[in-house]
């Protein structure tokens, strides 16, 4: 039995096309590390990233967003699924062909303290990609390093300094210069600003946007901070326990989130406005262990939807287009292709009902 692959927001001419991507990690137990099941860190994710766009990926710890970014770049080897970059099957590449592809696909890491080699000058760090990929050598490479540093807002003469001489924000700029050195078209930004102070965070966000505009870069922008993602992303995927549970344009997702999880996530963001008091949905409990996800809808144990019932624990909700371009995995948020009699057979007592709690005030 094959089910058709649901691709939320499929594009006619994607730069990156990910289909049914999975990454399972074995869970080992005992002294001899026998495998006792697996953690489905990424569990059948499909998405397209367009040329020059920013696709945001949001979710909490353990939702699989970081593994997704790394699996796309094959920094961790996916368990199954397809990845096509500019039409090329990334998973089939080996050796030199894979290295060549990596010129086009880069990553910026969260932690500007551990992601730079403390024994290399920042110039050498940025230069490495240039020489590995034979983009420039000798004096030409030195000139290019200085240009790159200046492009990210650092002084060219900083090339001879070491990471410890820089602040967190400056180190993150070095990380960006390193990624840019090989002239990529696509960058996975994995929590690029979450370790930075607010005033510095804004500098780096503006830099990433400028670089995107000037170079036509596409970003997969992974973050837990919903305000930062709204600011950066054209379209947003919300992940929970390894799956995409909602996908929409940034505008639609933040204006009218339909998945109860997204509603709770948005309502939980502290708003820097002491006057406006909002209705807050405080979720009970914690995110369940990805090694032992709940049956049916993975969110149902914490769900606040008034129509939640036994069917939610039995039926895996398909990711469905509930409004044009707005994809949601919830059988209680109409319309749904899971018919009422099927839900009833699974123990449903509440018919689907549009639930739209009042969320964040609009600025």
């Amino acid at each position: 039995m094959t089910t058709p692959t649901v691709v939320p927001g499929v594009l006619a001419d994607p730069l990156l096309a990910v289909r049914r991507l999975t990454k399972y990690f074995p869970v080992q137990e005992g002294l001899f590390g026998r495998a006792r099941g697996q953690v489905k860190a990424v569990d059948g994710v499909s998405l397209d990233v367009g040329h020059g766009e920013t696709l945001g990926v949001v979710g909490e710890s353990g939702c699989g967003k970081t593994t997704l970014g790394r699996a796309i770049l094959r920094l961790v080897e996916p368990t199954s699924g397809d990845i096509r970059f500019d039409g090329v099957d990334v998973r089939a590449l080996r050796g030199r062909a894979l290295r060549t592809m990596r010129r086009s696909m880069q990553i910026i890491f969260q932690d500007p303290f551990s992601s730079l080699n403390p024994r290399m000058t920042i110039g050498a760090t940025v230069r490495e990609g240039l020489t590995v990929h034979r983009i420039a050598e000798g004096e030409a490479a030195d000139r290019r390093v200085r240009q790159l540093l200046e492009e990210v807002g650092l002084r060219g003469e900083y090339a001879s300094r070491y990471p410890h001489e820089f602040s967190g924000g400056q180190r993150q700029r070095v990380g960006i210069a390193r990624a840019l050195a090989v002239e990529p078209r696509f960058i996975v930004c994995d929590e690029p600003v979450s370790a930075l102070d607010v005033s510095v965070q804004a500098q780096v966000i503006n830099l990433l946007r400028d670089l995107q505009r000037d170079r036509g870069l596409a970003y997969l922008f992974i973050a837990h901070d919903l305000s930062v993602v709204e600011h950066m992303a054209n379209r947003v995927a919300v992940m929970y326990l390894g799956r995409i549970v909602e996908f929409a344009s940034s505008e639609a997702l933040y204006r009218e989130p339909l998945m109860p999880y997204t509603q709770a996530l948005l309502s939980a963001v502290p708003v820097p406005d002491p006057v406006t008091k909002r209705q807050r949905i405080v979720l009970a409990g914690d995110v369940p262990s990805p090694a032992n996800p709940p049956p049916g809808c993975v969110f149902h144990p914490r769900c606040h939807h008034p129509a939640r019932d036994a069917a939610c624990a039995a039926i895996v909700p398909p990711l469905e287009e509930k409004a044009p371009g707005h994809w949601v995995a919830c059988i209680k948020q109409p319309p749904t292709a899971v018919p009422w009699d099927v839900q009833r057979q699974a123990g449903a007592t509440h018919e689907p009902l549009r639930h739209l709690p009042v969320l964040a005030p609009q600025a």
Partner: protein
């Protein structure tokens, strides 16, 4: 409002310096504030502003080469904390003033059950019997919203999520019914839905127990949600203080304004965020005059030569900025976005 008699904690000209070979890092450099019984005060600022060192100083937990400098005063429940001997300050710590830190994993001992760790506080501080201490631990775990507390008390820290561990730490902090809780970035390591749970818990405990809370955070959103008064720190000093609504409606210090404009907010569709140019200077080299002047769009000659005192701006509002003294210079500026 509150009368002076309600003042629980009064900090006057607190200076905590670190003497590093030839240099002196003036991490906290002239901080004064009051906390009244039962109120929640927010202390907000970025890395290196001195907020965590202030918190440690209140409990005299600063180790050499750090030193609380002569002339600093910390009065708590009418006692001079800096005059107490070691035994005296130990009796304050954990009993009257308790503290919760950012890292809920490293603050717990991995080889003891959470019940044992909460109970130990009651045994050490109150001399409770083993059985009474365990009962108190179960009661506290229940108070902080840990489900099935009698059973869960036997769990070890690694068996709990980050949010649950933070609840355990709050339970430990509250065992002795302190009158002041210092919470240093208590939700920073937590996911946003868990952060919401913990903030709600802190607010309800504060109500239930009449606890005063000093909440230290870098997040202005958290400040807006749970505090009634705010201290903004920069360069080892309080640069602005105000009731929370007043601060957000009418920030007087350019640093506070910069922070508010630099934050991306939900529903805010600005193309570019405003930035505060540059970075925080190291505490060994604060600039002369105003410590923010290198990064300030308003700075003029006076800012380089004369350190601003805290000017009162009415309604419990004050700011360490010459703009309050020379309001004619306080014209609307387009925030820098580069």
């Amino acid at each position: 409002m509150t009368s002076p008699a309600d003042v629980l904690l009064r900090v006057t000209d607190l200076r905590t310096h670190f003497h590093l070979g030839g240099e002196v890092a003036r991490a906290v450099d002239g901080v004064s504030f009051d906390i009244h019984a039962g109120e929640t005060v927010g202390m907000v600022g970025e890395s290196g502003c001195g907020k965590s060192v202030t918190a440690l100083s209140l409990l005299r937990l600063v180790d050499p080469p750090g030193r609380i400098e002569p002339g600093s005063r910390i009065e708590f429940e009418g006692r001079d904390l800096l005059a107490l001997d070691n035994e005296g300050i130990r009796r304050i710590r954990g009993n009257r003033i308790a503290m919760v830190f950012q890292e809920p994993m490293t603050a717990l001992n991995p080889v003891f059950s959470i019940g044992d760790q909460v109970a130990e506080v009651a045994r050490v501080h109150a001399g409770a019997s083993r059985k009474a201490a365990w009962e108190r631990a179960v009661e506290m775990l229940n108070l902080v919203g840990i489900p099935d507390p009698r059973e869960r008390a036997k769990a070890y820290p690694h068996q709990l999520s980050g949010g649950m561990r933070q609840r355990v730490l709050i339970a430990m902090a509250l065992v002795m019914n302190p009158s002041l809780l210092i919470a240093d970035e208590p939700t920073t390591a937590l996911d946003v839905t868990i952060q919401a749970q913990i903030l709600e818990l802190l607010a309800s405990l504060q109500q239930k127990l009449g606890l005063a809370v000093l909440l230290i955070t870098h997040d202005l959103g958290v400040v807006a949600e749970v505090t009634s008064r705010v201290l903004v720190m920069y360069g080892g000093q309080v640069v602005e203080r105000a009731p929370v609504r007043e601060l957000f409606a009418n920030p007087r210090h350019p640093y506070t304004r910069g922070l508010l404009q630099a934050m991306p907010r939900l529903g805010d569709h600005r193309d570019r965020l405003a930035v505060i140019p540059g970075t925080v200077p190291p505490p060994t080299r604060w600039p002369s005059g105003c410590r923010f002047r290198d990064r300030c769009p308003y700075a003029w000659e006076r800012c380089a030569t004369e350190a601003p005192p805290e000017y009162p701006a009415g309604n419990g509002h004050g700011a360490r900025c010459h703009l309050v003294d020379e309001p004619a210079r306080d014209v609307a500026l387009a925030a820098p976005v580069a």
